[in-house]
């Protein structure tokens, strides 16, 4: 019944419209703004569900396509469509935004309508990023997203928020302008801004290299990769809980999505020539950033570094495919790495959101993120402790949780490429376990550390449901990842077939 609805336009513009409505309600009616905000978030989630149920799993072609001319002078179209890579990310966005709106219910008391409007508008823009098939449209959504996030960190953030938000903005902006030059170059070569036309455009090696590096700057900052990751811990620490959740769960994924949508298919030969660089940077992220995470005194910073390490795993999965080819001489098994990276992205979206929400629960009660201020929380908050331990386990990649599936697939793929790479990648299992479980030990277990902890109250009904829904999703994806893998299959196979053909 939804087949002829412009579903993608709806998931983009419904939340933006909702955001504008909430914005006009102003600060006089905070309760009403919350209700309207939640209504629009839920509505958007419901609208996005048919994208999953009506999705044709047998094809790699774009689905739910909408295309109307937008800027005729430059042959730019309002061109939307999703495939197996982008559809799950849209669902993740609409799902997480609902939780973020609920999580802000009592916590945000200052300028409520602007807060909710920022998140709703951001949701629409992120959906736009995932569904845009025109490079300019993509870039517009990609950049426009920065302004609400800049305001969210700057207005509702912690004490050092201005430094953090400027750093976040300028880092991301710096990266993305190189992407813009790359896209314009591709336009002058192909005469169109359609991303799918770029995929089939033959390009020389120098051009591919420069385009690849330009895109690497844009998406590498976004995801973020070592050594351009330093904005992330600052932004995460200073952002309000909702900001951290969106940042970790979705914005980082845009970097990964960019690699799959742009870098790999547009410049496959450059990607193959530079796979050593990508794999090395990924391994540094996994090992070195894992060690850095171990040393953190601040809970949010620890989770931020853990995010970088996990995203290192994603890029490893994406770029190991070329090493598999070089090693085995065939593209068999390459799909495993890319699918693994995708699963890891979705799973990390859920787990990091849950972890940040857990820290938010503690922060709302204690107004401290320092690990040393906590201890023995399990005694006063048993339900919270149960959730926190579950998500920590998922973060370490325990079988049965979603964290396991993606990591296992990527490590399997890495073994086909090179034993030593696989070995280094597998250290994540140890490192992640070390920093996450040590965090759990220091915060949750042990004797009640001080009077403040003794006075803590357990999660309320709202927090319980938010964490409960996430826990369900993490476990479901852990024991039954088939629905997600089915969606990915055709698209990832096609992507591997595409990059296997040289463009030179």
């Amino acid at each position: 019944m939804f087949a002829d609805w412009p579903l993608l336009s709806l998931v983009i513009w419904t939340p933006i419209l909702g955001g504008l409505i909430v914005l006009t309600m102003g600060d006089r009616m905070p309760e009403a703004s919350r209700r309207v905000g939640l209504a629009f978030a839920v509505l958007t989630f419901l609208v996005s569900i048919p994208l999953f149920t009506q999705f044709d799993r047998g094809t790699h072609e774009m689905q739910f396509v909408e295309m109307i001319p937008w800027i005729s002078t430059f042959n730019i179209h309002y061109h939307l469509g999703v495939d197996g890579i982008s559809m799950p990310l849209i669902l993740l966005t609409t799902f997480i935004t609902v939780l973020v709106v609920i999580a802000a219910w009592e916590v945000i008391q200052h300028r409520v309508s602007q807060y909710l409007a920022a998140f709703l508008i951001m949701e629409g823009l992120m959906n736009g990023v995932f569904s845009a098939l025109d490079a300019v449209l993509f870039y517009v959504f990609f950049e426009a997203m920065l302004i609400p996030m800049f305001l969210v960190i700057g207005i509702w953030g912690g004490p050092n928020r201005i430094y953090a938000t400027l750093k976040f903005f300028l880092y991301t902006f710096l990266g993305s302008v190189f992407l813009l030059i790359g896209l314009i170059y591709l336009y002058t070569q192909s005469g169109s801004f359609a991303i799918l036309d770029f995929h089939h455009l033959p390009l020389g090696m120098t051009a591919q290299m420069l385009i690849f590096l330009g895109m690497l700057l844009a998406f590498g900052v976004k995801i973020p990769m070592f050594p351009v990751h330093t904005w992330l811990p600052d932004a995460h620490v200073e952002a309000p809980t909702g900001g951290s959740v969106i940042l970790a769960a979705i914005m980082l994924k845009i970097g990964g999505y960019g690699f799959l949508r742009f870098s790999l298919p547009i410049a496959p030969d450059a990607a193959m020539a530079l796979d050593w660089l990508m794999v090395t940077l990924s391994l540094i992220a996994v090992v070195y950033i894992g060690l850095v995470a171990l040393m953190q005194q601040d809970m949010k910073k620890l989770i931020a570094y853990s995010s970088i390490a996990h995203m290192g795993f994603v890029t490893l999965g994406f770029f190991i495919v070329f090493m598999i080819y070089n090693n085995t001489g065939s593209w068999q098994g390459a799909a495993l790495g890319i699918s693994g990276g995708m699963v890891q992205m979705i799973s990390h979206g859920l787990i990091s959101a849950a972890m940040f929400l857990c820290v938010g629960v503690l922060y709302d009660r204690m107004h401290s993120r320092r690990i040393a201020d906590y201890g023995g929380v399990a005694n006063t908050m048993p339900w919270f402790a149960a959730f926190f331990v579950l998500f920590a386990m998922a973060n370490t990649g325990l079988p049965g949780t979603s964290g396991f599936v993606g990591e296992f697939m990527v490590i399997l793929a890495a073994f086909r490429a090179d034993f030593w790479i696989a070995l280094l990648a597998a250290t994540t299992l140890i490192l992640a376990a070390a920093y996450t479980l040590w965090l759990v030990k220091r915060v949750v277990y042990g004797e009640v550390a001080n009077d403040n902890v003794a006075k803590l109250t357990d999660v309320n009904r709202r927090e319980f449901w938010v964490l409960g829904v996430l826990a369900f999703a993490v476990l479901l994806l852990g024991v039954w990842p088939a629905p997600l893998l089915d969606v990915l299959d055709a698209t990832v196979d096609n992507l591997v077939r595409h990059i296997a053909v040289s463009k030179l």
């Binding site: 002078t73 302004i147 400027l166 302008v177």
Partner: protein
């Protein structure tokens, strides 16, 4: 020799404006200070009337009249309409400021109208002489306007500086033109082009000098580095409404004479002036963006931001393609709209005895007036070139033209500089949204200003979501 009556129809808007300006000049003498609103009303009537006439008489073909000295073509129709529209907006924004400072006088409007007339003549110039005439008419009005607040020593100093340096630039331009006349034997721009084509076979020293003089003078008038020294001082010293006037419409007229003189007139020498413009553009981008960071006065900051925008316009012209020229037109129109809004906001915040020209004066605007903080947010985002605002498409069009002719590294440099530029626009957003207000005076400037300023800001978003409208207009006239 027979005397031929020229075709007056294309010149009607100019004649109307001239007549009205003379009428207001006389009529204003008989209007008491308490009834100054009549002068204001007549001024708006003349500007809007000229706008209506321009749009009404617009025609798709090129019409040359007045013995070949005046041209009306689609480009001039478009640019004149924008100049007139923006001038009307400028007069509107300026009124509350002038009223609270004892500057609400007829001279402001008469000088303004003659300035607008000068711009229209510049835009329609088809001979070197008309071009120079329009430019001088505009410049003389601007010199007087800068010194309009005669009790302010700062304004007097700026006006003096502007006058001396501006006159030198005019002299340089005239010298260059005289050489062109010497080489080609004609003042007609098409004749100049033809003359250059025949003369440029072998190396011609006079032609090189003429070109250099013309480029320097034009760079000077636009404020491109290294001929930008006057610009920050004039922007800073002039009364804010005059700064608003200088920073908007004259930039469009300035681009028009570049189009007429350099792109059309000296088009055969493109290879020679391309390098000159490239250097000017690169330096303007670097100096404008980097120095703006150090400014604490918002008018000075906008002055340096103007310099960097001029850099972008010059980059587009440097490309020398149809796309490049269209991009330059698009950029300069977008810039004039942004600058009008930006200075409009500065005027909006100022009141009697308070200039609001410090960046810190924007502190906590979100708590004082969330709506106008949002409008300023849109304007700043547009100036920084962030999507989905108009400023982004302006930069996109310029970068596309630059990449197309193979100057990829120049494009990379330009975007790097705009990242630096983003910082100081973000700083204003930071003051508005992240800081607490120190001053909580009620903000209200009357319905007309509120509405027009809001529309001005929303236009950044509206034309950002539908940039195709303006883009196809500028592409059609080039």
């Amino acid at each position: 020799m027979t005397f031929e009556i020229p075709d007056f129809i294309p010149v009607i808007p100019e004649l109307f404006l001239l007549g009205m300006a003379c009428f207001i000049l006389v009529a204003d003498l008989f209007i008491p200070q308490a009834r100054r609103d009549i002068t204001y009303g007549l001024t708006q009537f003349s500007v809007l009337g000229a706008l209506v006439l321009t749009v009404w008489l617009a025609a798709p073909e090129v019409r040359i009249t007045m013995s070949g000295t005046f041209v009306a073509d689609p480009m001039s129709d478009l640019l004149k309409s924008v100049v007139l529209l923006i001038s009307a907006v400028v007069f509107l924004y300026a009124r509350p400021y002038l009223m609270t400072r004892d500057l609400y006088r007829g001279e402001f409007y008469v000088l303004g109208l003659f300035g607008v007339l000068g711009m229209m003549v510049m835009i329609s110039a088809n001979s070197l002489l008309t071009l120079y005439l329009g430019l001088e008419l505009l410049s003389l009005c601007l010199y007087a306007l800068v010194a309009f607040n005669r009790d302010s020593t700062q304004a007097a100093e700026s006006a003096m500086k502007y006058f001396v340096l501006g006159s030198i630039a005019s002299g340089v331009l005239l010298y260059g033109m005289s050489m062109l006349y010497g080489i080609t034997g004609t003042l007609d721009i098409a004749g100049v082009t033809a003359g250059i084509l025949t003369a440029s076979g072998e190396f011609n020293m006079a032609l090189v000098f003429a070109l250099a003089f013309v480029v320097v003078a034009l760079a000077f008038k636009l404020g491109a580095v290294p001929f930008h020294m006057w610009l920050p001082d004039v922007y800073h010293g002039a009364p804010t409404p005059v700064t608003l006037f200088i920073s908007t419409a004259p930039k469009i007229a300035g681009l028009a004479i570049i189009m007429r003189l350099l792109v059309d007139g000296m088009g055969p020498l493109h290879a020679d002036w391309q390098g000159m413009l490239l250097i000017l553009a690169v330096l303007s981008l670097a100096v404008g963006n980097v120095v703006a960071i150090a400014q604490t006065n918002i008018k000075r900051m906008f002055a340096y931001s103007t310099i960097s925008h001029v850099g972008f316009v010059l980059l587009a012209i440097m490309a020398g393609t149809t796309e490049g020229n269209a991009a330059a037109l698009f950029y300069v129109i977008a810039y004039a709209l942004m600058a009008a809004g930006g200075f409009g906001m500065v005027l909006y915040l100022s009141r009697q005895g308070f200039e609001a020209d410090n960046i810190q004066d924007f502190r906590g605007l979100n708590e004082r007036s969330p709506w106008f903080a949002f409008i300023m947010l849109l304007l700043m985002a547009a100036m920084a070139g962030l999507p989905p605002t108009l400023g982004f498409y302006a930069k996109l069009a310029v970068l596309q033209a630059v990449v197309q002719v193979g100057f990829i590294w120049v494009a990379v440099f330009a975007v790097l500089m705009s990242v630096i530029g983003a910082f100081y626009y973000l700083r204003i957003i930071k003051f508005m949204y992240f800081d607490k207000p120190e001053d909580r005076t009620e903000l209200s400037r009357g319905m007309d200003v509120n509405v027009v300023l809001s529309v001005n800001g929303l236009l950044m978003l509206g034309l950002g979501i539908f940039p195709g409208i303006l883009m196809s207009l500028t592409a059609a006239v080039r």
